[in-house]
């Protein structure tokens, strides 16, 4: 650095001056010692010369800055405990806030890879009474395109359905395949990087040349075709079907915006089925580009008016009812479900609260210190230091403390996000990386500045502008602290206690929720069960029977693995959230249901008989499947209690339902109900069991109605064994690989983990709040302790005098405790009020406990009071132990 070099040079220059003067004197006959002394005396104050010379440089301010830094470092070294406390406190606050902000930023503020994405809106049916229909028939979309004025363009898309595999130059890989309307890319404002999009006529009813065209996503193109630009015009296969590549999308493009799986797009091909508005008409997801200045709310109003006319096209009265209302929301808003958004914002608010507590706490600490240093500052002022200069120095101290805190805080944040990445990825559509972005860094710098200003400038200004004389006159620590200022410090502690209590109450409520969740009767066993969630490459088994060619041999092998007690297959394990098949029965398929509405909805599950052994499912009546049920025996099915309750009027005695006919496995072969299962929690721990129909995998074959959905896409393998995860899972993976190489990539988990993961937002929120609330408790207890300890030190002489005049130790103890008591009482009272007002924010996460649960409020208040009393007792005891002689002699 230039400045350092110049400083060194100047020192050398001065040394040379003295050397030469000394040499001259020696030449005149003086002895070396006298010569040096005289030369130095003649030169004058070398330090002053250095200073005034350096002042001619342009680096003066830097010199002062470094001086301040050195001074601040010296101060920190002098009381390392204080520095560490302040840094730790602020780091905690900043770390929490930054971690939460990282997550919120990744999830809610991320930019979408589309042009002017704020104007993209999705249109969905809305219904107050029943579940709204999924997807919009093409006829309705065409009417909107013709008549609606809110949107400049309307497009639609739908997932290809099932699991799809792209065959690349080296093996096949699962891809996300989406069917899109021809105008969708234009609507999103994105152009293919290579090649072209679909021709505008591609999605009209007329057949066009683009019928078998395909667009590849950049990831798929790179991973599976080595980014070969000559791929354009060539043929690729999706699950065995040929398509011509017409374009490659640019990197970073994804639609629908979810995950980072390789993607492909195909043009929509409206067929005869799209020409109606019945329950069998295909539905599409709709996205539109709002005209400039049109809000989603205005668009909703307009479309709802328009739809009144269009809905007349629905012959069925119920369908007309459910297809007449819409909700239009910005596309970005639909990507994160409301619950998650809510959870994140609540946690962000909590982290803000913690940051506030940390700031209040460190301000209090710095304030105490500034007061303790009042005399030093007064002396500096008396010696001629400018007030601004003193403020500057104290500010530098605060800045140094808070920037160290920022560094440590960001490290904490980074680790925290890493730590929670797993639970986050379970609830959020995107993997969350711990790396902060530019916006975040900016926020970080702002947080630092604000906390530095909050924590240092204020006490610094107070200290610097306090009159110099009284501090000097009264001297030392015994200087009378002004009443107003000690009241201010008590106020800060009260604030801290109140804020902490709010966090503690929220945490207490969530812990109660987690406790309640863990004690919900699941209806099945979870321990010692491994689950492999398999993606089935159904297209490879075209013309074969998956049951006999894949599943039965696989089960046979797994059953014979050492240590396996039972193993079975099920299309989706309870709470698995992997692959849900919805069965909808209309009209006469539901003939024998005496309490049936026109349509029957149920979850359809394919399962093998051993599953009862694995999960311990209980029967309400009849029997579960067994090995006597085969492809050649009578088709049978098992329903659950919820199904029976909803669809049979005569459901008091479940045994009466056994033997009834329901639906069929193949057309013309009605199935018989052989058992009623007790309800289990299928979709979520807090969700009531829904109707369910189980079929035996052994009875399913290529001719079965639901064969493709039941067997050809996904299947969960559940194994009961006492073996450890580390020894069993690699073996299981190898067995799967032998059955089919594609199965080796299956997701492995334990049933306990599946249940754990299904707690979702509550569990994450509880974990995060536990940390926040624990920190808050620690901080406010430390704040209380710090204040009282300081007060006791300040009043040592007074206390000594009181004892000398005959005050009892108990009186002195009570003197300090009384001060603590009123601060605690005020803090708790305010905090309870604040908690009462704010717990409604987390009301939607609570389960088994009310937002204003009296027991939780009381327990939390007691915990805080107890912790506060302990924190107050220590300084109080010290006060009571003051030796009057010692205290009075001290000055």
């Amino acid at each position: 650095m230039v400045w350092w070099r110049r400083k060194r040079e100047l020192e050398e220059e001065i040394a040379a001056h003295v050397e030469m003067a000394m040499a001259d004197r020696m030449a005149r006959g003086e002895d070396p010692e006298t010569a040096r002394r005289e030369a130095e005396r003649e030169f004058g104050n070398a330090a002053l010369v250095k200073d005034v010379t350096a002042e001619t440089w342009r680096w003066r301010w830097l010199d002062q800055l470094l001086q301040d830094v050195r001074y601040a470092l010296r101060q920190m070294k002098k009381s390392p405990g204080f520095a560490l406390t302040v840094i730790g406190t602020l780091a905690l606050g900043i770390g929490a806030a930054v971690a939460m902000f990282t997550v919120v930023d990744k999830v809610m503020l991320r930019p979408l890879p589309y042009r002017d994405a704020g104007r993209l809106a999705s249109i969905e049916f809305e219904s107050k009474q029943v579940a709204p229909p999924w997807g919009v028939p093409l006829l309705d979309i065409q009417e909107w395109r013709k008549w609606d004025r809110s949107f400049s363009e309307i497009g639609y898309y739908v997932g290809l359905g099932g699991r799809n595999y792209l065959e690349g130059s080296n093996g096949s890989q699962q891809v996300m395949a989406t069917i899109i309307s021809a105008n969708l890319l234009d609507l999103l404002g994105v152009k293919p990087m290579l090649g072209r999009g679909f021709s505008p006529q591609a999605d009209s009813f007329a057949k066009s040349g683009d019928a078998d065209a395909i667009l590849l996503g950049n990831t798929a193109w790179r991973q599976m075709f080595g980014a070969d630009p000559k791929l354009l015009g060539k043929t690729v296969k999706i699950s065995g079907k040929s398509h011509t590549v017409v374009g490659i999308m640019p990197p970073g493009f994804a639609f629908p915006f979810a995950g980072s799986a390789p993607e492909v797009w195909m043009p929509a091909q409206p067929g005869p089925a799209d020409g109606g508005r019945t329950s069998s008409t295909p539905g599409y997801e709709v996205i539109g580009r709002l005209r400039r200045g049109v809000t989603p709310a205005r668009a909703t109003t307009e479309l709802n008016v328009l739809q009144k006319q269009i809905a007349k096209g629905y012959v069925d009265k119920d369908a007309r009812e459910t297809h007449s209302r819409f909700r239009i929301s910005t596309y970005g808003d639909t990507l994160v479900d409301a619950d998650t958004k809510h959870a994140l914002l609540a946690l962000l608010a909590a982290s803000g609260l913690l940051w506030l507590i940390a700031c209040v706490n460190s301000t209090n600490l710095l304030l105490a210190r500034a007061m303790a240093r009042q005399r030093e500052i007064a002396v500096r002022g008396a010696l001629g230091a400018g007030r601004w200069r003193i403020v500057q120095q104290l500010m530098m101290e605060g800045l140094l403390l808070s920037s160290s805190a920022t560094l440590i805080g960001s490290a904490i944040a980074w680790m925290a996000v890493k730590l929670f990445a797993r639970s986050l990825s379970k609830m959020l559509p995107l993997p969350v990386s711990a790396a902060p972005n530019g916006l975040l860094l900016l926020a970080l710098v702002l947080l630092t500045l604000v906390s530095a200003l909050a924590a240092s400038v204020w006490p610094a200004v107070l200290a610097a502008y306090s009159p110099i004389e009284p501090a000097l006159k009264q001297g030392g620590q015994q200087s009378g602290t002004s009443r107003a200022r000690s009241r201010l410090r008590s106020g800060l502690v009260v604030t801290e206690i109140a804020l902490s209590l709010t966090l503690l109450v929220a945490c207490g409520l969530l812990l109660r929720t987690i406790y309640a969740l863990r004690h919900v009767q699941l209806g099945f066993r979870t321990e010692h069960i491994f689950v492999a969630s398999m993606n089935i490459p159904g297209y490879k088994f075209e013309g074969k029977n998956l049951t006999s060619d894949l599943y039965e041999p696989l089960l046979e092998r797994v059953r014979h693995m050492p240590g396996v007690e039972a193993a079975g297959l099920i299309s989706e394990v309870p709470l698995g959230k992997t692959f849900r098949i919805q069965l909808t029965l209309n009209g006469n398929a539901a003939d024998e249901l005496d309490n049936a509405p026109k349509t029957v909805n149920a979850q359809l599950i394919g399962v093998s008989p051993e599953m009862q052994g694995v999960f311990g499912f209980k029967m309400a009546a009849g029997r579960f499947f067994n090995s006597q049920d085969t492809a050649t025996t009578t088709p049978v099915m098992v329903i659950n209690r919820a199904f029976a309750r909803l669809y049979y009027s005569n459901n008091k005695d479940m045994r009466k339902i056994i033997g009834k006919k329901l639906w069929h496995l193949e057309p013309g072969k009605p199935a018989e109900i052989i058992g009623v299962l007790d309800d289990v929690r299928q979709a979520g721990i807090t969700l009531k069991p829904s109707p369910e129909v189980d079929l035996d995998i052994a009875q399913l074959g290529p001719k079965s109605t639901a064969y493709e959905a039941m067997e050809g896409m996904a299947m969960d393998l559940a194994v009961r064994t006492d073996r450890s995860e580390a020894s069993f899972l690699p073996e299981l993976r190898e067995v799967l690989r032998q059955a089919d190489p594609a199965l080796a990539g299956s997701t492995m988990s334990t049933m306990d983990q599946v249940v754990e993961d299904s707690y979702g937002s509550q569990r994450m929120a509880a974990h995060v709040l536990e940390i926040f609330a624990g920190s808050a408790l620690l901080l406010c207890v430390a704040g209380l302790y710090g204040l009282l300890a300081y007060v006791v030190t300040q009043r040592t002489r007074e206390i000594g005098l009181r004892i000398a005049l005959g005050a009892q130790r108990g009186d002195v103890l009570w003197l300090v405790m009384r001060q603590a008591t009123w601060m605690l009482a005020a803090g708790v009272a305010i905090g309870l009020g604040a908690a009462y007002a704010s717990t409604r924010l987390i009301g939607s996460f609570l389960y088994g406990v009310r937002a204003h649960d009296g027991a939780t409020f009381a327990a939390v208040a007691l915990v805080l009071l107890a912790a506060g009393a302990v924190a107050a007792y220590l300084p109080a005891r010290r006060a009571a132990g003051v030796d009057p002689m010692e205290a009075l002699r001290a000055e």
Partner: protein, 117 residues
Amino acid sequence: MGTPREKYQNRIELLQGTLDMLILETLKWGAQHGYGISQAIGAQSGEILKVETGSLYPALHRLERQGFVRSEWKTTEAGQRAKFYQMTATGKRQLAADRERWEQMVTAIGAILNPAE
């Protein structure tokens, strides 16, 4: 407070200008180090003018920043490493201007002290 401070500044400026001129005058005879300059001014004035190091070094560094002198580390005849200052072309012009102003002032002051008889 305002007035004395201004006066103080004026005094410095007057001295500064003079000291700068004296330093440049000394450097007319070739490059010299700080000690040499102070010795030379002392000797030339018959030990009447004594340059304080607290004025000399700031002046040298200021002159260097203004571009009137440049510096270089060299070894003296006695083998001592020292920083030598040398006048630049701008410095020479500055010296001429300083001199002219000084002589005008001496004439003016002289005219006041000894009014024309």
